[in-house]
Symmetry: C2
Subunit: 508 residues, 2 copies
């Protein structure tokens, strides 16, 4: 028996080495992706695609190495799967789950998908520029069909949509996500109506003044560092479509856009990405490249970004600290302003066609629309060709506006043409998790708002580090949030939070 354990431990170490080596190559892939979107010269895109494809092939080969598969099968049947430390057990279980998913995908499908998604994104860029659905339709048809094939291969026991969601939100199932979204919708629709019909409307003119980019850069870096983003282990750069990317355990890179006539673009963009970055920087370094050192899910990831962006960044207490800083940075621009006016300006609700420009209240309606439509296509209930009409009808019903063209409608997001199907719900799950986590943090540490007003964020961050970051992927998102908050996952804290903040700003 002692022998069996010793053998299993040796085999476990080998499995971890293998996974770490794969993570090493995947981190190089991430660096190439970051470079492509921030630094790469304009003409270098063609060769970069070749470099990325070559690395992707190497990573896929490592991920499906049969030796690792046998090792993991033996470990799953061996003593450590039951008697190892919680981290060891989770590592065996999740590496095996990931391996099985990858190994069930035919190499041909992986390659076809990779190519279809690169070409799909290029077609999308052209189609959106021309507001021409017909330019994208054939690509989307092919991508949805390949993704259905992927779904059926990788987790054949699940519904296709559930199988796809598993890539982004492990363990999530359509039925329960749809249920919680349904209840959230019942609360949001009337809230939007009340905001839109309110006689009091927050004036956001203050945000649309001169904010020189170089000053913004220093200002948002100060804010990011203050909430805890470690610039010794990360950096901030400029890009068109902001993201956070991790190229190693001490190398987390966040990005933003700048608008010299609208402060929130960069300020909340950076607080959002820094929220992702704080999660990445808070993962366990000793388990880097293995499930205990990985993020639990994209929903949990988004909960961290949205918490810092919205529940800290749009909180009145935060502006007690932040406003004097902002006025010092932009003395002429903010000479006649104060923290109250600034805070209120940030709470304007205004239904609009574009998701990434949506306010916090209407945002989730954008997500639910995509969630319902993509699921219907994957399940075979809606034809790809009917997406634009279905989009516009649903949008009109939800927002009272019909998109003037498909660029403002079904063509606005890159996700589907990049093969990211089953991904959208993680945005709203993130919002739900963020409000529930923030409520629990405030209940546990009532001093947090006062600290925020003094520009101190370590109690909040410390609580997130312990309850969320250090957990890694050893729990799925729902058990993780349940354990951290002591409450079943529910939309009610998000609704409460929205009503508490947006009601008064709109006079109710």
């Amino acid at each position: 028996m002692a022998d069996a354990v010793a053998t299993a431990e040796k085999s476990f170490a080998a499995a971890c080495d293998h996974a770490r080596r794969t993570a090493l190559l995947a981190s190089v892939e991430a660096l190439l992706g970051w470079d492509e979107r921030t630094m790469m010269p304009a003409a270098a895109g063609g060769y970069r695609a070749d470099q990325a494809a070559a690395l992707a092939a190497l990573v896929h080969r490592e991920r499906t190495d049969p030796v690792q598969g046998e090792r993991l099968a033996a470990l799953a049947a061996g003593p450590l799967a039951q008697a190892g430390s919680p981290e060891t057990q989770a590592t065996i279980r999740l590496l095996r789950h990931d391996f099985a998913k990858q190994a069930r995908l035919p190499a041909r499908l992986v390659e076809e998908l990779a190519r279809a998604c690169v070409e799909g994104q290029q077609a999308w860029a052209r189609a959106r520029a021309d507001a021409s659905w017909s330019m994208l339709e054939p690509w989307l048809r092919r991508i949805f069909s390949l993704k259905r094939e992927q779904a059926a291969c990788q987790l054949p026991d699940l519904d296709p949509y559930d199988s796809l969601m598993d890539d982004y939100e492990p363990g999530a199932r359509w039925a329960s996500v749809a249920e919680v979204f349904g209840r959230l919708r019942e609360g949001i629709v009337p809230l939007v109506r009340r905001c839109v019909e309110a006689r009091k409307r927050p004036d956001d003119a203050l945000l649309r003044r001169d904010y020189p980019v170089e000053v913004q850069r220093r200002f948002v870096q100060e804010v990011a560092a203050r909430i805890g983003f470690d610039f010794e282990r990360g950096r901030l750069d400029t890009t068109d479509h902001p993201f956070c990317s991790t190229a190693g355990p001490d190398d987390c890179r966040i990005t933003t856009r700048w608008d010299e006539r609208f402060l929130p673009t960069a300020l909340f963009g950076v607080m959002h990405e820094a929220g992702h970055g704080l999660y990445e920087q808070g993962l366990r370094r000793d388990w880097y490249g293995l499930p205990p050192g990985e993020a639990a899910s994209l929903g949990v990831h988004e909960s961290q970004s949205r918490l810092w962006e919205n529940l800290v960044g749009r909180a009145r207490d935060f502006w007690t600290w932040c406003f004097p800083r902002a006025r010092a940075a932009f003395p002429a621009t903010l000479a006649d302003a104060n923290a109250d006016a600034m805070h209120e300006a940030l709470l304007r609700v205004r239904p609009s066609c574009i998701r990434v420009e949506a306010d916090e209240v209407t945002y989730n309606l954008h997500i639910m629309l995509r969630f319902d439509l993509e699921r219907a296509v994957v399940q075979g209930e809606l034809d790809v060709g009917d997406l634009p009409a279905a989009w516009n009808d649903r949008f009109e019903a939800d927002f009272g506006i019909r998109p003037p063209n498909d660029a403002q409608g079904v063509l606005q997001d890159i996700h589907w043409s990049a093969g990211l199907i089953g991904y959208f719900p993680t945005y709203t799950l993130g919002n739900i998790f963020s409000a529930q986590l923030m409520r629990a943090a405030l209940d546990r540490h009532p001093g947090i708002p006062g600290e925020m007003a003094a520009g101190r964020f370590d109690t909040l961050l410390g609580w997130l580090r312990t309850e969320v970051h250090a957990v890694g992927r050893t729990l799925e998102s729902v058990p993780l949030v349940t354990r951290a908050t002591g409450q079943t996952v529910s939309e009610r804290w998000l609704l409460e939070s929205l009503e508490e903040r947006y009601g008064p700003a709109h006079g109710f």
Copy 2:
């Protein structure tokens, strides 16, 4: 026979594919190196070393793939090696040469060398900071010993030093390099003495005024673009030790340092690196990753950087165009200056301890010292432990100054601790080639100086594109320069050029 040719052509295509795939991975390695020195967060170095080592191992595995070895051996014995196009013949010959060198190195040696050089560079940084030779000596001893082993393995028929030079300057042999260096030395030593003893000394105070970095950045980018560096296919960034790195056929990245009180640091630094960049951008795109699309040697590479830095950048005609630009960029700083004063300020000769700060005339004496010492160590004529004393004695004899400490002497360069032995002579070879090439360009196109004065550089660049860049590695450096100039390679044009420019500046 037709069958044999068809088979050979198929095999040639496969060999080229293999080499291109290796180049693809090597280009990712280059990108990692660039990122490490320009962008990487401070704390990320440890993991970056792991990433680099993993990629290096992949590249080495590809480079020594036995299938490729057999393919190349068959090609070398087949019809294409004699009857293929010049590019095909050169490709077969050089891929085979490279493969044989790599394959003769035991994997153990490759790994030991890689580790010793990483550790050696770290030891060097500490040793230089402390000006402590004893902190570096054991590492250098190990590195020289491993390099001697490498030399004996890779090209066993050559002298060890010649074998090492082959990595940087294919075909170069110590005996002939030493001969040309000896003649160059005979001309430079009296020239330095005349400059130092001259009663007229150029006044360089003009260069040591306020040059705000942000303005410098725009100014040097304008200059680099004007001489032909294509920023659609490249970029400029900041680093401590400037370099030029290529991450793909359309992705050439140059770097510089900035000194707000000394314009030449960035201006000539960027003209130098842009010279390297022009060569990279001028290589044949259709042969990227294969010898006809590779640089001929480091000496030829350096000839391009030095030509633009010194023979263009320090030419009086160049300043006819450049001075008004400089005054527009730095109006207060240069209010009382003119093109003549600027040009003269750039020609000050002043012996000093540090190679990278040396003027153009004394520079080659720094190189010859290193060339002689490293060769003596490799050939077993000088013990590593005797390097500091040998350095200081030789330096005093050549420059009339004894370095005040080893940081200003034997510890100043990173090369030896990075395993770059046999590399130094390429700097002076580059200077020799640059003067000979410039002379030939001027003879062929007497309009070049007038164009330079008008800020036009396309005739000069076009000539270099045809005579140097497009040749790739199909010729070794000496035949390449001979063919381009119609003259045997000689130091005389470098001596002439130095005397023509530095004599008048020093009143003779």
